[in-house]
Amino acid sequence: MIQRIPRFGGPKALMATIGIGIVGMGCTHTIKVEPIKVEPIDITLHIYLEADEKLDAFFGDLEETASAGSVGGRSGGGSNMGATGEVK
């Protein structure tokens, strides 16, 4: 008995190859490692916070003394200027 060994070829094989190729392309995993970026806004914010702390430390005593010595704090006072910024 001669058994027929299935041959691989012809249009079916071509279709299968193309199919595997397409599926294979779809399964490609690309792992991209993005460099860690430090946004300039964060750096600026850090400097702002440092500056705020320094200013608070410097003016803290002065402001405490002033608020203890004044009645009604810093608000109030006459107005010689209006909404447009025009000086009377």
Binding site: I47, E50, A51, K54, L62, G82, T84, G85
Partner: protein, 231 residues
């Protein structure tokens, strides 16, 4: 003696402490000077003679102020400048690897924000050349500035603010700010004209010119022909 001075400077440099430049007051000396000036400066701010500026300094509200006020302002600003530089140097010494360095201007701007927060609503704040507003009007000024930055509103030859694009006219958030600002401006034009005994149109022209001159790069400004131009 000279050797001791050098050693002291080296020690300061090693510990990160700031060394005042030759002839410049130290932080402690500055503190005393600020304290000595504080009462008088506070009174001048309350009376509307002196105001803070958005860049962290003080200035006489009326440019033609007397010599005493001018000298006080000069001394205060000189000390602030020195302090800002000392604090910026300290920040940089404490953060040697920081990619962005602190500058005198950075510290000055932070102090401006601090001073606005602590100021009374009727005190004055200079927001542009020859442009003073009351501290209580600053939030509205900020809203207007934001809309200008977005290109949604611009200054016009009428001295009033206007919405640039028709599409934005239906936006209540935009029109609300514009209406509020223009109402305040219109009332002020009339008040200034009455006070100076001049025609409202003269005040309008003056304000419009000032606002156009103070417009920042990128702001929309309407010309006398009615066309919007990006500054």
């Amino acid at each position: 003696m000279k050797r001791m001075m050098i050693a002291a400077c080296v020690m300061c440099a090693m510990t990160g402490a700031s060394v005042p430049a030759m002839g410049q007051p130290s932080k402690d000396e500055l503190k005393v000077q600020f304290k000595n000036r504080d009462g008088e400066l506070r009174d001048l701010k309350k009376s509307g003679t002196v105001g803070e500026t958005v860049d962290g300094y003080v200035e006489a509200v009326d440019a033609a102020s007397d010599a005493t006020v001018a000298n006080l302002v000069k001394a205060e600003n000189a000390d602030r400048r020195t302090l800002y530089q000392i604090l910026a140097d300290e920040i940089n010494a404490e953060n040697p690897k920081a990619p962005v360095k602190a500058t005198m201007e950075t510290v000055a701007i932070r102090n401006a924000a601090r001073n606005v927060e602590k100021a009374g609503g009727d005190e004055y704040l200079r927001v542009g050349k020859g442009h003073w507003i009351r501290v209580k009007d600053f939030p509205r000024f900020q809203k207007v500035t934001k809309l200008k930055t977005q290109g949604k509103v611009g200054e016009t030859p009428t001295g009033l603010l206007e919405i640039v694009k028709d599409a934005d006219r239906s936006d209540a958030a935009v029109s609300g700010v514009v209406d509020e600002e223009n109402k305040a401006r219109t009332a002020e034009f009339a008040a200034v004209a009455q006070r100076e005994g001049t025609d409202v149109s003269a005040i309008v022209r003056r304000m419009a010119d000032r606002n156009a001159a103070n417009a920042r790069i990128g702001d929309m400004v309407k010309d006398s022909g009615g066309s919007w131009k990006k500054k």
